[in-house]
Symmetry: C2
Subunit: 400 residues, 2 copies
DNA sequence: CGTTTATGCTCGCCGCACGAGTTTATTACG
DNA sequence: CGTAATAAACTCGTGCGGCGAGCATAAACG
């Protein structure tokens, strides 16, 4: 029989050991710059427990206290922040044209330290370049790096890339990205991670169920419930672009027919205008959105795309019941370019009982930084667990 | 400032107090008839802790130990089961034609104690009848009843019924169902709760993300992740029938256009056959499924519906990435009646990378009992929390 | 410069689970 | 039939995280 201690449901595993400590670290992460007194109040901790917990965390290099800018009477409290020698995570964002590599401490703010346009789209070359960057960062910070998290513009499944249309990749193994095989490597879809970031600290902060939708080449997104993306059994959830809202006669490169994708992005606009399929649908769409004012044909084509977008989004709202929708990438400019048609289609597609108070549809707040923030958040989720802190404590303890 | 102890994020609230006890009770619930030794092994508890926890739970009337049928050498262990004087929940299922009221102990098995066909579809009359039944059961068991949970064939939002097409109800207040306003009343959609039951103890047990789809009048269902339904911000998620997979020319009674609903149920079959819209689409569909063998026109109509069902389901699989799909209500007979067309449409609608190992699509295991099981499970989720057990302990303690 | 106020610190206590050792109930075997 | 083997339950001392109460401290107010 397997060791009982390894059972995931084990009481031993979800020990009380780090409960208070984790709660404090989560507060610090959720709201950088919180004071110790505020955290204690919010968590219902006595000042005694707060003292004890912060002391423990300080000793473990998990947290630093700095003087607060005093604002009132009473003994001044301290501001909680990440420890200067504390754990770090590496966040990478691989996009269509370039990649970025950032470092984040426990407050989750990614600090971009390396970035480069793809010299060559060949996956091996791109991965080698990023791998070198990760290794440099890893070497610089040593054991402080606790996880590497990658956001990639691709369909991700079970921690691997299955297909990346915009990059022109097939299945690709990203495991070469970690410098150290013992450091956990997390792979996530960029739109999913951007959605996580929006829901935790962006435009959807505080929502119960936040739907994030982004348009680049095709549609990406995710539903985020309680801060966690609903990404299915293998992590490939959120491929809303491949719901058959579109024309069944159109075959999508994904292999299915009638994909929503094909009716809203640059390919759809080009089709409506009468242009040949663009090599780079994203750039084509951006261009078209600029030409809307002067050219009625483009205006009509963009309007049709916005309508298809609004109608499909209404269906998603019917099915998923979010309390807010955030739009990333080209989704917001597309809506803005044909707002009346978008809104009409959205309203018309909603179930009647939803029309009285439909969820607000707002622009994403984090913009291009979303995926990187989300990747850092995913990595920190890994670090800020009982297992993660046990490992860190063992490492800090050994170094003394 | 609000009392810190009331904060949901409070460390105090998620106290360690009931951690081990809850884990043991969950095991007993997940697998009725487990032995104490097996639970201890699975949870990684020492025999000492197991002794202590079971003793505590026995004293609180939360658990009873009975002699196990001995199977090997060594000191015999005991079987854990619900205590004869322990907490109970009332589960109600309101369907198109009738309702049922059941009682369940902590093992979650609902025992139907009252059932009746609707004499009259008038909501007030139905609710009054059910309310009387609930009150009778409540009176019989007194304070042992800890929650009332209702599964209803209706769109549910924020704990209230918004619209019930099959019952012909508009917004209806179900609060009159509780005998005692202090007893929590939980309202859930029947298809959602059936999905929960399938995922926890039915055909999808053990799945990471289980998609349940049922067809009655329209389509219902839910995605269940980690035993909890993904039901959005207000509990109205899972209305997959109102995704616009269908013909945009068709206006759905829900107010939207092109709803998937309209292309798969009895209404769709009638349309394809050339019959007028049936008054009871469920019965019509059942009838049609029987006539498939002899009548080519019906066979073709059912085939079209099965095809629309398979194609839409493929889209949902693309978007939600379940590792299993369970079919309830007429969904399974519909598939069976036109299996080749259903499967062809399903496969054709999947993204290419999913075709190698698509999620299994299986019949629901719990059948008609699903919603009642799910309602009981939802009620027990309420009871088996730290708050729930604290309240119970206070009640048991006071009675001595 | 004392008072007020908000916060941090110290220390004894409690409850839960752990671990090691002991006891008990049953089967297997000579 | 009695003894060994085995599996599980019971007992009790320990450790750890958080609680509470009381005390100490750093600012702002008047």
């Amino acid at each position: 029989m397997a060791s009982p201690a390894n059972r995931s449901g084990s009481v031993r595993a979800r020990n009380a050991r780090w409960r208070g400590a984790l709660a404090v670290l989560e507060e610090m992460r959720r709201e950088p710059g919180v004071t110790r007194a505020a955290v204690a109040r919010r968590l219902g901790l006595t000042t005694g427990s707060a003292t004890e917990i912060t002391a423990r965390l300080r000793d473990l290099a998990l947290l630093a206290e700095t003087q607060a800018a005093t604002l009132g009477r009473g003994r001044p409290t301290t501001v909680l922040g990440p420890h200067p020698e504390g754990p770090l995570v590496i966040a990478v964002d691989i996009r269509q044209e370039d990649w970025r590599c950032a470092v984040a401490a426990l407050d989750g703010a990614p600090d971009v330290v390396e970035a480069e346009a793809h010299a060559d789209r060949d996956p091996a070359a791109v991965i080698a370049a990023i791998g070198r960057a990760v290794r440099r960062v890893h070497d610089r910070h040593g054991h402080r790096v606790r996880a590497v998290s990658v956001a990639v513009a691709a369909t991700v499944r079970s921690g691997g890339v299955v297909q990346a249309a915009s990059l022109g990749w097939d299945a690709v193994d990203l495991r070469a990205l970690t410098a150290d095989p013992r450091t956990p490597l997390l792979i996530g879809n960029d739109a999913t991670l951007a959605g996580v970031a929006e829901a935790r600290l962006g435009a959807a902060a505080g929502a119960v169920a936040a739907l994030h939708i982004t348009i680049e080449v095709g549609i990406g997104g995710t539903l985020v419930v309680g801060g966690r993306p609903v990404d299915g059994a293998t992590g490939a959830g959120g491929e809303f672009g491949h719901l058959p809202f579109g024309d069944p006669a159109l075959r999508c490169p994904c292999g299915a027919r009638g994909c929503w994708d094909m009716t809203v992005d640059g390919r759809a606009i080009a089709r409506h205008v009468g242009d040949p399929p663009p090599r780079d649908p994203r750039t084509y769409a951006l261009e078209a959105l600029r030409r809307v004012r002067g050219e009625p044909a483009v205006r009509a084509a963009v309007g049709r795309a916005a309508e298809a977008f609004g109608g499909g989004l209404a269906g998603l709202i019917n099915a998923l019941d979010p309390d807010i929708v955030t739009l990333g990438g080209l989704a917001e400019p597309l809506r803005a370019a044909a707002e009346p048609r978008f809104t009409a289609a959205l309203t018309d597609g909603l179930m009647r009982f939803r029309r009285a108070d439909p969820p607000p549809v707002v622009a994403a707040a984090l913009g291009e930084a979303g995926a990187l923030h989300g990747a850092a958040a995913a990595a920190l989720d890994h670090v800020l667990t009982e297992d993660g802190l046990n490992a860190w404590a063992a490492f800090v303890g050994a170094g003394r």
